[in-house]
């Protein structure tokens, strides 16, 4: 009897093994068509658009077949699992290079083949957000800088002049004081109670410091006087009642007319337009007069798996996806990354979109701490808890104490 069980078990294991074995051989197609898997993090509406653009590529290239894989909110988990099992998609959207670069193909040699003019057509700042060290791992697809949004109706009702590019945070606070009206439940300014440290570093840059040194050491940077000054500025506005710390990024409060100003990327534009919100945008206020503010970039690029079997075909598709035509095709929901497209569509003179490009030019030459250290996700965790201690109205810890503590960790 025991022997029978053994035979049965052996049979099961053999079957399981043969099941797994099936997968390995499906890469090579019999008719010589190279198949490329392309992973996107977008969902529903944008995906339909993307599928159309993928179909267009497949029609033009008879020897390559690209399949769009929609990972949606599971993107990170699936990419990580794919890299772990050497089964990552050939081409994928990418922003978190520090976490994944070891699974990605360096693209410098591919770019070199296309020539210097190809590379120069992309905004310089974008390249530094698509590389680790000196190696480029992604071709820019889209980006956003951060800007100050303001609700024109609230400004008009309070008789306050609209913000300008020359504003400092002092002027923002003055305006916020005039705009705050507790009887109407309106607060002048809003910011996240638990800021993403990646985003928040831009305020430190604007004030002449950073979260860390070149190697990612926080000490003497995150707790420098300039950093403390930044966090105190925000905390004081909140304590004074002229700013409110929001649960999420503040877009809901902005839409509901509960806050008059907030700082964000380009994401809410379409929902503001849909809601017919009467809003304007302007450069982020400065900390010191005469030293223009700096913005963090949230950028997306297209990267290639280093385990891809069809790298040439994958590069062909990446080139297509980042071409002028596609930048134009995405113009409704993505800020173009090519200078030629921005020029031909005269986007820089657009009252809304133009501001994002002027922030882009002001932000050249900064490297986020997340790109300098291997331990960013832990550091980021510690920092966001530290910031929360400063901004959580039930705690209001002293900025200097909190930042000193986090610098020692």
């Amino acid at each position: 009897m025991k022997k029978k069980v053994f035979v049965a078990t052996a049979l099961v294991i053999a079957m399981a093994a043969s099941l797994m074995g099936c997968k390995a051989s499906d890469k090579q197609n019999a008719d010589g068509v190279k198949s490329i898997r392309f992973a996107s993090w977008d969902n529903s509406k944008d995906l339909e658009e993307q599928q159309k653009l993928v179909d267009k590529f497949n029609e033009a290239h008879k020897d390559i077949k690209v399949t769009l894989e929609a990972y949606g909110s599971d993107f990170d988990t699936k990419i990580a699992a794919g890299m772990g099992s050497k089964d990552a998609p050939d081409v994928m959207y990418m922003w978190n290079y520090p976490a994944y670069y070891e699974g990605l193909e360096p693209l410098d040699s591919y770019i070199e083949k296309e020539g210097q003019t190809y590379k120069d057509n992309f905004y310089e700042t974008l390249w530094s957000y698509n590389k680790m060290g000196d190696t480029i791992y992604g071709i820019p697809v889209g980006f956003t800088t951060h800007v100050l949004y303001y609700n024109k109706d609230i400004f008009d009702a309070a008789g306050v002049a609209y913000p300008t590019a020359e504003w400092t945070f002092k002027e923002l606070a003055d305006a916020a004081k005039k705009l705050t009206d507790t009887s109407k439940n309106i607060t002048g300014f809003g910011f996240k109670r638990v800021p993403d440290p990646y985003d928040f570093e831009m305020y430190l840059w604007s004030n002449g410091t950073a979260l860390s040194d070149d190697k990612g050491n926080l000490k003497d940077y995150v707790n420098s006087d300039a950093s403390v000054q930044v966090l105190s500025t925000f905390q004081n506005m909140e304590k004074e009642g002229i700013a409110v710390a929001t649960d999420k990024d503040g877009t809901d409060e902005m839409l509901a007319g509960k806050i008059a100003m907030y700082i964000n990327g380009s994401w809410p534009i379409s929902s503001f337009n849909d809601a017919k919100l009467n809003y304007g945008v302007v450069q982020i206020p400065m900390f010191k007069e005469g030293s223009p503010s700096v913005s963090i970039l949230s950028s997306s690029g297209l990267a290639m798996s280093k385990d891809s079997k069809n790298k040439d075909a994958a590069w062909e598709f990446i080139k297509y996806w980042t071409s002028e035509d596609l930048n134009k095709a995405r113009i409704q929901y993505e800020l173009p990354v090519l200078k030629s497209v921005v020029q031909s569509e005269s986007i820089e003179s657009d009252a809304i979109k133009g501001v994002f490009y002027s922030m882009l030019q002001q932000s050249e030459g900064y490297t986020p701490t997340s790109f300098k250290t291997q331990e960013w996700s832990e550091i980021s965790d510690a920092l966001s808890t530290a910031f929360e201690r400063i901004f959580n109205s039930t705690v209001y810890d002293d900025p200097k104490t909190v930042l000193d503590e986090v610098a020692e960790q």
Binding site: K4, M15, D76, G84, S377
Partner: protein
């Protein structure tokens, strides 16, 4: 002939083969893999490197968050399990009353158990909102200024308990079916002897359903220690990590910090904690759980 006999003996195994494969590939395989992984440093993207007991040592000696998360989770279980049990039993008693329209209430109380965790967390996110949530609105009607439930670290854990207790329906239903099965003549005899309703509840109902209580204690203890969905969606571990449950700690180590080996070690430690707590409850059960068969056998002696 011989071959036929062999085939006949193998037949049952062939029939259960799909389930055996399923068990090996989807349950036992991943389980063993996670145990093996817990002895490696593995950031998913790069190659795993052997670490021996390194992950376990780091957890117990170098990671303060491990103890904090464990404490939060145990605290949650200590509040949640008894509370949940009492509410479920009270509701079960209510819906066994022979009142008109009781089936409607039975359905209403069970509905939350059917709703997905994501929907529950969105609903409670609104209910608990400090500024315009309905809970604080009701509190303000009776003159109490409600706390900022999801912002104040002192209240957030209690808010999670509140939201979790909402899904009490399944447990209520288990109690309900058991109470329904108690023979009516027991109550009739007791009331003839002059026992009050309260007396009947403690002397008849409770002793008879102790096996069900044991079952519910264990299942709710395990689910309390594994709580993740609600904290992930309702508070994200905050404010100020006051609801950074153990499940969240494991999840973030694995999928945010990409320390898969460390997270596997975390998960196995929790498995052992659950194992110990469950066996304590089981051991204690001989003192307070009565089985019908036991009682009958005792009489025969």
């Amino acid at each position: 002939m011989k071959r036929k006999g062999r085939l006949r003996k193998a037949t049952p195994y062939l029939f259960i083969l799909p389930w055996i494969v399923g068990f090996l590939v989807f349950t036992l395989g991943p389980l063993l893999l996670s145990l093996v992984m817990s002895f490696f440093n593995w950031s998913i993207v790069s190659k795993p490197s052997f670490a021996g007991f390194g992950n376990y040592i780091e957890m117990f000696t170098k990671d303060p968050q491990f103890y904090k998360s464990l404490a939060i989770t145990l605290k949650f279980a200590a509040i949640f399990v008894p509370l949940n049990l009492i509410i479920a039993l009270a509701l079960a008693m209510l819906i066994t009353q022979p009142v008109k329209g009781v089936t409607v209430f039975r359905t209403i109380y069970y509905i939350p158990a059917v709703v997905s965790g994501v929907a529950i967390s969105i609903i409670w996110g609104w209910i608990l909102n400090g500024d315009y949530g309905i809970l604080n609105y009701f509190l303000s009607l009776i003159g109490i200024k409600g706390p900022k439930w999801l912002v104040d670290p002192a209240w957030a854990l209690f808010a999670i308990v509140l939201a979790s207790a909402w899904g009490v329906g399944t447990m209520m239903l288990i109690f309900y079916t058991d109470i329904k099965n108690i023979p009516i003549d027991l109550y009739e005899a007791a009331s003839l002897d002059g026992a009050s309703h309260v007396g009947q509840f403690f002397k008849i109902t409770i002793p008879i359903i102790t096996p069900t209580i044991l079952f519910n204690v264990i299942t709710s203890l395990i689910s309390a220690l594994q709580q993740l969905t609600l904290v992930l969606l309702l508070t994200g571990g905050g404010p100020l990590k006051s609801t950074y449950f153990y499940g969240m700690f494991v999840y973030n180590n694995a999928f945010k910090h990409h320390k898969l080996g460390y997270a596997s070690a975390n998960a196995w430690v929790m498995f052992i904690v659950i194992l110990i707590l469950t066996s304590i409850v089981f051991k204690s059960s001989s003192a307070w759980v009565f089985y019908e068969t036991e009682v009958k056998e005792g009489k025969k002696k």
